[in-house]
Symmetry: C2
Subunit: 338 residues, 2 copies
């Protein structure tokens, strides 16, 4: 089969790879309907996260069940299913609390930029649809696998409530879907921080009421200005840099909520500063599995179209171009056809 392998900074290749096999009786093999490149894939692509050896890459996926291990009960051959980047048993105490990405038996799912994928702990990881979805729904269902689930967690972790004023730091796919999620959760005012025309447009389409182009202290000042000096009730930090984190905390009102869902790179928080900010802070790897049933339902009922974040589609063999397009911000997010 064909699949993407990352060799190091700026070196991703589509190659012929061995077909994945059932290794554990709880495994499933999916024939992928679509896959894509994640903003977090750009950290190693840019050389910021080190790659030790050539590694099959990608962690966003949806597709048709090709083969099931003998202990798998919840999905059947031929069904369409969506999963997330961490496989989880969905029965341990952390899973029961809704934190499947901290599952006691979690396993990172890798190598999803490919034609076929082995998904461990399939019963706890995959959510199958009742019927085969239409082709039009595939991009949105793929988005549910990570960026939508992550944007939704960002909104949920930032306690977005009906009537809230929400600020979103980051205009990548996660930030844009954070806007969509905040809208779904009833936010009245949604301030998107973006200085990129196409992204601003999509943010507005997803529900943003205001756009702030300033960054850092100026961005904070602008949000304070827009909120009568109070700050936002909820701030979604969807980047993961020290600047974006401090921007998010600074834009939040005392007693408000800051979520952070991008893997932090070089982020340091001073206790005394955080103390006097008086904000709530919650984040981490989004427990997408918790939200998948709700999100899949919203998508299949055409209540949300998160697939709009895929502004570019390429065949899997052009994976290197896909990384470059996202790295150079020419594409918001690239869907790869396996």
């Amino acid at each position: 089969m064909r699949g993407a392998v990352i060799y190091g900074a700026h070196d991703v290749r589509a190659e012929e790879l061995p077909m994945p096999k059932i290794l554990e009786p709880t495994d499933v093999i999916l024939r992928l309907s679509a896959t894509c490149v994640c903003g977090s894939d750009l950290w190693p692509f840019r050389g910021i996260a080190k790659i030790e050896r050539p590694t099959p890459f990608g962690h966003e996926y949806c597709g048709i069940v090709e083969e099931v291990g003998r202990d798998v009960r919840s999905v059947k051959r031929g069904q369409f299913a969506v999963g997330s980047f961490f496989a989880s048993d969905n029965t341990c105490p952390h899973c029961k609390l809704g934190y499947q990405t901290s599952c006691a038996h979690r396993q990172l799912v890798g190598g999803a930029q490919a034609q076929y994928l082995r998904v461990p702990l399939a019963d706890g990881t995959l959510v199958a649809t009742a019927e085969m979805p239409s082709k039009d729904h595939i991009p949105s269902l793929l988005a549910a696998s990570d960026v939508l689930g992550t944007g939704w967690f960002a909104a949920d972790a930032a306690n977005v409530k009906p009537g809230a004023t929400v600020a979103v730091v980051g205009d990548g796919a996660v930030g844009l879907l954070g806007v969509l999620s905040a809208k779904q959760l009833g936010a009245e005012r949604i301030i998107a921080m973006s200085r990129h025309d196409a992204r601003q447009k999509l943010a507005r389409e997803f529900g943003a009421t205001d756009i702030v182009t300033e960054r850092g202290d100026d961005g904070v000042a602008r949000i304070k200005e827009l909120t009568k000096g109070i700050g936002a009730d909820s701030v979604l930090e969807c980047v993961g840099t020290n600047e974006s984190m401090h921007q998010a905390i600074g834009a939040c009102r005392p007693g408000g909520y800051v979520s952070y869902v991008g893997v932090p790179h070089g982020v340091t928080l001073e206790g005394a500063d955080l103390f006097f900010r008086h904000v709530h802070l919650h984040g981490g790897p989004a427990p997408v599995r918790r939200y998948l049933p709700t999100l899949i339902d919203l998508i299949l009922k055409d209540r949300i179209q998160p697939g709009k974040v895929f502004d570019t589609t390429m065949p899997l063999d052009r994976v290197a171009d896909a990384y470059r397009a996202m790295d150079e911000r020419r594409a918001i997010k690239v869907l790869l056809q396996p």
Copy 2:
């Protein structure tokens, strides 16, 4: 009048000071019924927080209204009232959200280790009792002014719910009253971290079900052991050091809640570590004013006896001895009689 003045490290003196006066029409002068030494007063006493000039000290107080400014409406001369360390207007957006210690017009109340005290913004700061409380209630009402309100905020900010497993880091008065607060909020299991006999005893009296004497990584391991490897649902960090903060975060389950209510000294959090911990974090200067009506009610109905944290009572003129007794951990908390 007599009052305490801090001159520098290990140098606190009881002195003759001028009587406080009404400076603003929103001020009240209280004749204090009791005052005390706070754990946070020990930071400057130990020379860790710098003292620039001789400063009248103390911020915990309750007493009888001696004089009211012309704009004060909610308290009258002769009434008994309790306030908190930050004066607040209780009408700004931050106050309305319950974060009076981030009030847009907040003022630090200082010089409460004295016979008389000027309280600014009295309408938004003081809570008067309907009747004159008995002498027996005075220590508990004094505790409500800071340590009880702070312990209660710690439990509330750590989302303590009926049935919860709670860990409390710190066995000072705030930690001990965090135990009491967690009990009141319905916690089923309360693990107090303490290695001091008298404090362990009081923790048990306040509702602790388990005592952990280990600290740091060993303390975390012990809490994991006591919770079947899961971690506590809620952890109250009531110290403010880097070690105690990391101990609190480490003892919390993924998806659980960590509160921190001691002013952090040298606390640094790494974003990536916090991210994978998956905890909720909330803290800051406790908005005691939010809780005062509830706490005063519980005290006057004899439902709680937070005044038990005062294991030593001294006349105000022995304030230097009081600081020493607390610094050397001979006393949990010293009540000063003005």
